[in-house]
Symmetry: C2
Subunit: 437 residues, 2 copies
């Protein structure tokens, strides 16, 4: 006898959670497809050399790799971006550029076990490859906005920044070679505070204390009023450095496009967001739910040049974002936006007299658009009603001898205990549809 | 530079195929949920001991297994049934019985490479655990029927049999210990023919030639008229053996339930189907598309006792089926039932004058229910129209200076070349919605 147990660091989803996740994904896919993003699928396993030397050192250490039956070195994908780069390089002639795709799939990282973090998790990416147009950046922001609204989220903020701005500042200080190191430290602001960041920057980089103060003052500037007004205030910085000016100009062009598309309260320039280290090269985004900012960003992304640089001589630029599925699910649940039932049907139909009639009646209800589960055995009502309670059914349809003879239905509300007898098919459907809507 | 290539034996899905697959899965899930099946999710990786000694010897040889970062022996799942057994044994108290679940997920088998067979493929299982009721068997058949109808398939046949019938026949010959070996040989009937099957049975088993003739004559009997009429003709066999009688009685009870649920032309008793070897213990099914019988079964299943026997002392019975997704997709495509476009949107909107107005107009169309892709750059029409052709767009909406000034739309049919100018928003939507419906 083998003890049934889930692999350490991995997770099963029981019906309630799995159903909530699938409802969420359905809504997300509808949003992506409204913009003409197409799905693609790549295997969970790749040649290890495709995935090696990609992503951070940490990700490399956490990668699952092994020899397959043919002695090939293979690895489980750790994200959907490296396989996308391989895919684009491989099929770009067939696909035609620009190319918009979404991809929802599981990825694997052998991280140290932590609460709420699993070694297999679902990513949900959408990207726009092969265009430098700021229109593509704007559309990605618009997709984030429309996707969250379609999920029913009422208040959230999409923070916008451009990596070129910080890069330009560092260039203006002659310290561009230290950009990544400085970003790494500045990124800890929320965790360790302003003072510790200053100390660490003085210790770990060649920046002088007045340069550090300038940098930190710059990124601490907060948008008040509209994004375009805020950018107008930053106009004077453009003289400092061409890269910085380019970054501000791109943000400005982005906000001009966003203005008629998204109400201002849903997006905001935030000069302090950095989105990890080496990856992004242009405009970047982070999205937080206003009532749940401690949750962190639920949808982040940005523009990256040279997506395919390891696989192809053509330099292809992309812009995209990724929804943190588990985090989003936790957020929606906390906001009360997810159905929280373990059953997917509208009602349980309990045949007391005849399975044959029970199945027949259930199919009639399904043909009228309802989701109906039939209790599959003729048992004492005590047993089948206990089942209805375990599954959390609010409504039970009872079909006994009388109902069968009269072709009527008895509907019981399991929460209130209220029972309606002698319902016609039409009245039954009406009762249940009112509930559904 | 690394050559971009897909791992040997694995498969990428480009947008056209991936979209067709996702449309098919959406329809299948709708059908499952109509019957109250809930989704569950288990990891792609399991402790190797959970998966070992399960399935056939061949499947065991093909299993991908390796040591994880913690030195645990782990393996990629090769089906969704063994993880289901583990899941049920682990959570049965929380889930409540009977338990109905569906699961759609990828499984991995290191098979020798063959045309059309891949080492990673998607399974789509639905099962009913913890009830012996024939009602559950009937419902699984009904789900197969409703699912295929919902996918738009007009003609197919669900073949029904009961493993107990053949087992009973073998018992009546005192040869029950050879049942699996005999089934293995009989299963080759379609491939090697009647004569070779007889020869092999004589050579490999202890059956005498008149016994072989009796067995083969029995399973060659074909249903004419209704299933219940055919079963009535087999009535006399019941005296031979109790197991055989039980098998026929169960089939009879099943057909009584199916009669008001499924038109007779969609199901048929077929005494020759066996569904693999040791796995199933009761009623079994196979489904073939009438115009594409060479494709093989697109949905098979049956009843199995002792699902959880390796993980738990409780003996739990189950009944379920699995849709062969790749085969079904190939079948639907051949029957012309799948949309075959690489783009998911209803039209491509090409802004000739202003990105800002293009994005704004596109969102208005989306708000009215249309799926609209925007060409993300202002370029020469030659380039954006070439893109529309590459992507297979039938409709292109053009917004130039005049359209923007007049708030009208130009719609071009890329197939006929017809162009409609000065359309109002309402007329544009009407034109595109007629196309959609």
């Amino acid at each position: 006898m083998i003890t049934p147990r889930t692999l350490s660091g991995f997770k099963d989803r029981l019906p309630k959670e799995s159903y909530a996740k699938s409802q969420m994904l359905k809504s997300i896919v509808e949003s992506f497809e409204k913009f003409g993003f197409s799905p693609i699928e790549t295997p969970h396993l790749e040649y290890a050399e495709i995935l090696k030397k990609q992503g951070s050192e940490e990700i490399q250490k956490e990668m699952y790799h092994f020899l397959d039956h043919g002695g090939r070195e293979v690895a489980l994908r750790f994200d959907l971006t490296v396989p996308l780069a391989r895919f684009i390089a491989q099929y770009k002639n067939e696909l035609g550029l620009p190319f918009k795709r979404y991809c929802i799939g599981n990825v694997f990282r052998g991280e140290r076990a932590q609460k709420g973090r699993y070694r297999e998790f679902t990513q949900c990416d959408f990207d726009f490859i092969g265009t430098q147009s700021i229109g593509a950046d704007a559309e990605i922001v618009q997709v984030i906005y429309q996707t969250l609204r379609h999920l029913g989220v009422e208040r959230f903020t999409i923070a916008l920044n451009n990596r070129k701005i910080f890069n330009g500042l560092m260039e203006s200080l002659g310290a561009q070679s230290q950009t990544i190191e400085v970003l790494r430290i500045v990124d800890k602001m929320d965790k360790i505070g302003h003072k510790s960041v200053c100390e660490e920057l003085e210790k770990e980089t060649s920046l002088k204390s007045e340069q550090i103060a300038m940098l930190l003052d710059f990124i601490a500037q907060k948008q008040e009023g509209s994004s375009l007004e805020f950018l107008a205030k930053l106009e004077s910085y453009k003289a400092r450095n061409a890269t910085l000016a380019e970054g501000l100009n791109e943000l400005c062009a982005l906000c001009v496009l966003l203005k008629p598309l998204i109400p201002q309260e849903f997006y905001q320039i935030n000069l302090s967001i950095a989105r990890g280290l080496g990856y992004y090269t242009g405009i970047i985004y982070e999205t937080t739910l206003d009532n749940l900012s401690a949750l962190g960003s639920v949808c982040s992304g940005g523009r990256y040049d040279n997506l395919t640089q390891n696989f192809s001589k053509d330099s292809l630029s992309g812009v995209g974002a990724s929804i943190g599925l588990d985090r989003m699910l936790a957020g929606l649940e906390e906001l009360g936006l997810m159905q929280s039932s373990a059953n997917v049907a509208d009602a349980l139909l309990i045949p007391l007299q005849s399975l044959e009639y029970g199945y027949f009646a259930a199919q009639n209800l399904r043909n009228l658009g309802l989701k109906i589960e039939v209790y599959p055995e003729i048992v004492k009502p005590k047993k089948s009603f206990a089942y209805a309670n375990t599954k959390g059914y609010k409504y039970v349809i009872v079909l006994g001898e009388e109902e069968e003879a009269q072709k009527t239905y008895t509907l019981k509300n399991m929460e209130s205990g209220e029972q309606k007898n002698h319902l016609s098919l039409e009245s039954l459907v009406k009762c249940l549809q009112v509930v559904e809507a």
